[in-house]
Amino acid sequence: MKTFLFLSGPLVLAVLVVAPARSQEIPAAPSREVRAIGRSVNILDEEGDVVCSVRRGTSMKAVGRHVNEEDLQVQVSARNCKTSGPTFIDRTYVRPLNADGSVNGNAVVDTEGLNFRSRPSANSRAHCTLHENQKVQVIDENPPGVRQGAWVKIRLSEPASGCPDEGFVNTSYLTSTDTYQDLPLTGSQIPLPPPRLESGLGCATGECGKENKNIDQLGEVVGPQNLFVDELQKLIKKPSHRPRNLNKARGMVQLPLCSKKGFIGPFNSFHYDPASPGPVGADAYANPLTACAFSSVLHDWDKQKAQLCPAGSDCQIAWGDISHPNKKRFNGHKSHTRGQCIDIRPIMKGGFSNEPLCHRDVYRGGGKRRRLVCSGAKYDRATTQKFVAMLKERGGEVIFNDPSIKASRAGGHDNHIHVCFNNNANSRKACDNFKPTTPLCPVSNL
């Protein structure tokens, strides 16, 4: 009897548990139909690596919202998107569908003073500006003649005086009013590793011998100085490669830093605001090809300083935000999401100090907008021109608003250079040819 009870107990319990499931309908998990609005939108795995891309107009089922509140978990039926784990899409690049299959274009402006333009171009006339949280209706996701996904045509329900009913805005500044609150939370944050700090102190004093070894923050010898570049080159050829001694997140790698506070970057570069947003180095994640091409610029600039820079000038490259391992839109950036773009200060005259070039338009003569506070006397235009030329030669696409410098223009880029190293022949060539001959961190305080 005792034995019978022992054996039958779990059996009875199992029947009790299973029985209701047979007699009741299991409620369907909430899901939503969404449609891709970008020309080619990446589908990501849980670690943020790209699984595949889907074309504009592709419909998919959203089954959850990621805890980062930026992505949706989606089920994609495309054959090349099959993977064993869950897949995600950036919710900026999808629009929810109404019950009848039409796109829900209800959105709000997510910045103050958004230009409402006559044509889908930053060079077109702005009719007026829109206010933060102002409601709009997207009526054309892909206006003809523009890069898809960059500009949308919208209609205002209550246009202010002087504003027409319809016009164009940069799509980056619109947020769907649909926050997908009915979908369950899913996914997890990528744990933020400690910053990758490199030490080359021994090498700088010649103690490393012929191998020119590198020492990490734990004092461990991790290999020759160009290990960083070797690992990047392997990663570019094989994205699944797990690089030694490099932090990796969302398909990006962290640029090594040479000092505890993070101001000293590779090859004698300067990294400004390294702890914003903290911890140190969380803003220094780059796509492997970008990291490689940009490092080649840092290395070669440092080696050629004597020829490129005027006498008495430190001529140091000061770089800031790249991308963040977790936050796609950190510091308000919308073009620093995949580690391909870097903010860099223009070159300054004289000895280097962590002094920003004033934001006010020193390049536009100062009279057009407001009174001029900064003289711009420290700005070294001639050397900045050489630096921009080197960036472009290595495949960089440059935005900078000094009209004397050959680059693209865009609002907000008066006081810094914005360079993106996309996958092109020049950036690949720059990386393939990059064989560093000087230490990554000539000096460190680790």
Partner: protein
């Protein structure tokens, strides 16, 4: 008599405050390689508009300025908008450079956090006995194309 008094008062009210100019300066503290050693340095420079690429760590004024001056920091959603917040900070000696006093508890990143990614404006004002001595308006700039 009454009319001329009103006239004078209206003009007095319309007078803008003078600029603080170089009385109030911004600073950054950072690391730099000097003679193969990493040392901590600081730079003092004119206050300018705020952005991720032109951020500063705080503000200072020379010791020769009146020690009773107080810094008032006002934030706005736009240059002509209503104040969002306003806070006052006292100055005290700056350990990085004895020639200056610093608004010790003023952290611009913290003060501008709420609006720095959306764009807005801030006002620096020097007060003495609660009376404004000078002020300057600066833009908090977005670093994105629009």
């Amino acid at each position: 008599m009454m009319i001329s008094l009103l006239f004078a008062l209206s003009f007095a009210h319309a007078d803008p405050l003078p600029s603080c100019g170089s009385r109030l300066m911004a600073f950054n503290v950072y690391e730099q390689v000097v003679n193969n050693r990493i040392v901590e340095k600081h730079s003092v420079f004119e206050v300018g508009d705020w952005s991720d690429s032109s951020a500063f760590d705080g503000v200072v004024m020379k010791n020769s300025e009146d020690a009773a001056l107080v810094l008032e920091v006002e934030t706005r959603r736009s240059a002509s908008g209503k104040p969002l917040s306003s806070k006052q900070y006292e100055f005290s000696p700056w350990e990085s450079d004895p020639a200056y006093r610093t608004a010790r508890h003023f952290d611009p990143r913290e003060a501008f956090r709420a609006i720095s990614h959306k764009g807005g404006a801030f006002v620096f004002r020097l007060l003495k006995n609660k009376t404004s001595q000078c002020e300057d308006l600066y833009v908090i700039a977005r670093e994105e194309e629009d």
